[in-house]
């Protein structure tokens, strides 16, 4: 029995008419309609309406509308595609730009990281390639002794052992592992009688240490390293580092110094910048572990006492160093031959020429006011500084280098060129000791700048030495030098005269054998 009745069919009439019922309901409804005349008639009428409506022909839209729509659709799609392609192009163009920018930023970051100091003070090796290093004491009140020839090149890291003697076999390895950065410390001192009279008892202020190589990151590191060294006590009572006759603002090539152009300054490798004197060569020694120097003052006293006993000088000269330890001299020679002084690996400017350095140094020597040393702020030790054994090793090495340098200091004291020339004239007047003449002229030759500024003195010196030369070739060479100087002087006089509107003086500087007799007479005003 079907549950569908007329009422239910009336409710579901639309669904039944349009067959939106499920199959079961449709069957039930159909069964009821077939059995119910009323519902069947009702459904019949609605179906008749539907059939009538279905006979309505479907009107066809005009093709023009369709064509317009298709055209519009194509245009719109083209615009949309152009927008998408533009976005794609922008993305394509922007991608490499963004990538390049990112790469540039990354490169800068990496470069900054690479330039950051990675060497700690304890790892910095200091190479001393200058002349004998002065003790950190006061400057003398009298002219210093002539500077010795040759240069001592020391490298803190390379010199190992208790005696401070470098072991050649270990130098290279140490340098590879630790001495990444080396600078040059130029220690100078002004020691001249007139200057000393004007600036008496400058003390340690006369010592001036300059760190030459303009190394970027290493410079700072070198300065920090040097700054750890406590300044020596300044005052007239201290020993005189009388070997820095020519202060220099710039570093001089070690090779040039070794070649004979002694400028009276020394370079300390491994650091750069404005350091200070007083144990600069011990820069590698950390401040906390820096051993006190109880023997410093007695050594200074000994220097003064010995200098006072020296009849040649009016002032004290550095005391001779303690007895050299075994193997010190050979090791030092080997270091020099190997170029043991360490050039900075990163140099932003070429080192000045020898003449420039001497010029600047000489002018500073003549005119520079007393240098007051400012205590450098001590930097805390790096977190990864050297360990205790390494520090002890470095300390012992540095102490050995100090003693070694002082030994050479005593032998190669610096004397001003004026004093050298004065001694030369005095010697000539007192019997002309050819040996002493040879030695004095040789020392004068090292003063390049002074020799250029005092051609008469140098000409006389060459003439004096030429007379003393036993070898004809050497004698001729000295005579030739004297002639050259005379010619240059005459030429310069002519130039000056032409500039001044005057006729060049016709005085002849002809060199003859009798010129040597005029040398003392010309040297006297030159000395004044």
């Amino acid at each position: 029995m079907s549950r569908v009745d007329c009422h239910l069919l009336d409710e579901r009439l639309m669904d039944y008419l349009y067959e939106e019922l499920d199959t079961r309901e449709m069957d039930e409804m159909r069964a009821h309609v077939e059995g119910c005349p009323r519902c069947s008639a009702e459904i019949g009428r609605f179906r008749g309406v539907r059939r009538a409506v279905a006979q309505l022909e479907m009107a066809e839209p005009p093709p023009a509308v369709s064509a317009k729509l298709l055209h519009q659709a194509a245009q719109t799609q083209k615009t949309s595609m152009w927008r998408r392609s533009r976005a794609m192009r922008m993305a394509v163009y922007a991608t490499p730009i963004v990538a390049m920018a990112a790469a540039f930023v990354l490169l800068i970051h990496v470069k900054d990281k690479a330039l950051e100091p990675t060497i700690h003070p304890g790892e910095v090796s200091v190479a001393i390639d200058g002349r004998p290093v002065a003790t950190p004491a006061a400057a003398p009140a009298v002219p210093a002794v002539p500077a010795p020839e040759g240069t001592t090149a020391l490298k803190g890291e390379q010199a190992e052992g208790e005696s401070g003697i470098a072991k050649p076999s270990d130098d290279a390895d140490k340098a590879k592992h630790k001495a990444d950065v080396t600078g040059r410390v130029v220690a100078t001192e002004k020691a001249k009688a007139p200057a000393a009279e004007e600036r008496p008892a400058r003390g340690a202020a006369d010592r001036k240490v300059e760190f030459k190589p303009p190394v970027t990151k290493d410079t700072t590191l070198g300065k920090a390293t040097i700054a750890k060294e406590s300044p020596p006590p300044a005052g007239p009572g201290h020993g005189a580092p009388a070997m820095h006759a020519a202060p220099s603002s710039g570093g001089e090539d070690f090779d040039a110094v070794m070649g004979g152009a002694m400028s009276g300054r020394r370079d300390l490798g491994g650091s750069a910048g404005g350091g200070k004197a007083g144990g600069d060569y011990r820069a590698a020694e950390p401040p906390k572990t820096a051993a006190p120097k109880p023997a410093a003052k007695p050594r200074e006293v000994a220097k003064r006492e010995k200098a006072a006993d020296d009849p040649q000088f009016e002032t004290s000269r550095p005391a001779p160093p303690p007895p050299p330890q075994a193997g010190a001299a050979p090791a030092q020679k080997k270091m020099q031959s190997q170029g043991a002084y360490a050039q900075p690996q990163v140099t932003t400017s070429p080192p000045p020429s020898n003449l420039e350095v001497q010029n600047e140094g000489y002018q500073r020597y003549r005119n520079a006011p007393p240098v007051v040393q400012q205590p450098q702020p001590t930097t805390p030790p790096a977190a990864n500084a050297q360990s205790a054994p390494e520090l002890d090793e470095t300390r012992s090495t540095t102490q050995g280098l100090v003693s070694q340098t002082r030994r050479q200091e005593s032998k190669q004291a610096t004397t001003s060129p004026e004093q050298l020339y004065s001694q030369l004239v005095t010697n000539t007047n007192n019997g002309n000791d050819c040996t002493k003449v040879m030695d004095l002229v040789k020392q004068l030759e090292t003063w390049n700048y002074w020799s250029t500024q005092h051609p008469n003195e140098m000409r006389n010196a060459y003439l004096l030495r030429g007379r003393c030369q036993s070898d004809n070739n050497l004698a001729n060479k000295d005579m030739e030098n004297a002639r050259r100087i005379s010619a240059e002087q005459e030429k310069n006089d002519k130039v000056r005269a032409s500039k001044a509107g005057k006729k060049a003086p016709a005085k002849s500087k002809a060199v003859d054998n009798n010129a040597s007799q005029q040398a003392p007479a010309e040297a006297a005003p030159a000395k004044k």
């Binding site: 019949g44 008749g48 479907m58 369709s66």
Partner: protein
């Protein structure tokens, strides 16, 4: 190949730039939509304009179309809204008062719609039972807007009541009621063609 795809797939292709997909969609739906609009507004010119406007909206709104939605529902909604807007603008209700049917059986008793109708009506009339066609058109015009739209959607667009309810925004039962009233009114209007109804099985 495109003719076998669904409306949603074709619309997706058109969104990717395939104009041929839109061409298929247009060919598939332009006739029912046009007839729906034509029966709704009664004017061929207005029907053409509304048809063009409806598909233009489809073109412009293609980017915003989501495939989850049924394309026909979206399309018919646009068409219906166009018709309703036009009806409101033209005050078709007031105009419909002039659509008083003529005398029954009077050849000249065409409605006002027939008088202002385009040649399409004449073609319909010539093609089939011209009197029936005229009566049917007049009867449809007499339906209220709510009934007419439901009737047209169901008869011309073959939409189910559920979809009609979704497009019109009224409950489904309301749609069915409107549909029933529309059919009853048409039945009454076509009483003269009772024999036609009797012929129905």
């Amino acid at each position: 190949v495109l003719t076998n795809e669904t409306d949603e797939a074709l619309m997706a292709r058109y969104q990717r730039g395939d104009v041929r997909a839109f061409e298929v969609l247009l060919a598939r739906h332009r006739k029912p939509v046009y007839n729906f609009i034509l029966r709704f507004v009664g004017s061929r010119e207005q029907a053409e304009d509304l048809l063009q406007e409806t598909f233009l909206r489809v073109i412009k709104g293609a980017d915003s179309y989501q495939r989850e939605a049924k394309f026909t529902t979206w399309l018919y909604t646009i068409a219906r809204n166009q018709c309703v807007d036009l009806s409101r603008r033209m005050k078709l209700r007031r105009m419909s008062s002039l659509d008083a049917p003529g005398h029954a059986g009077d050849e000249e008793g065409a409605t006002l719609m027939d008088a202002v109708a385009d040649g399409g009506a004449s073609v319909d009339r010539r093609a089939g039972d011209s009197e029936l066609q005229t009566r049917l058109k007049a009867a449809i015009e007499t339906l209220s807007e709510e009934q007419r739209e439901v009737f047209l959607m169901r008869e011309f667009l073959q939409m189910q009541f559920k979809e009609i309810a979704e497009v019109t925004g009224v409950p489904e039962n309301t749609v069915k009621s409107r549909m029933r009233y529309a059919l009853e009114k048409l039945r009454d209007l076509l009483e003269d063609y009772r024999e036609l109804a009797r012929a129905a099985p």
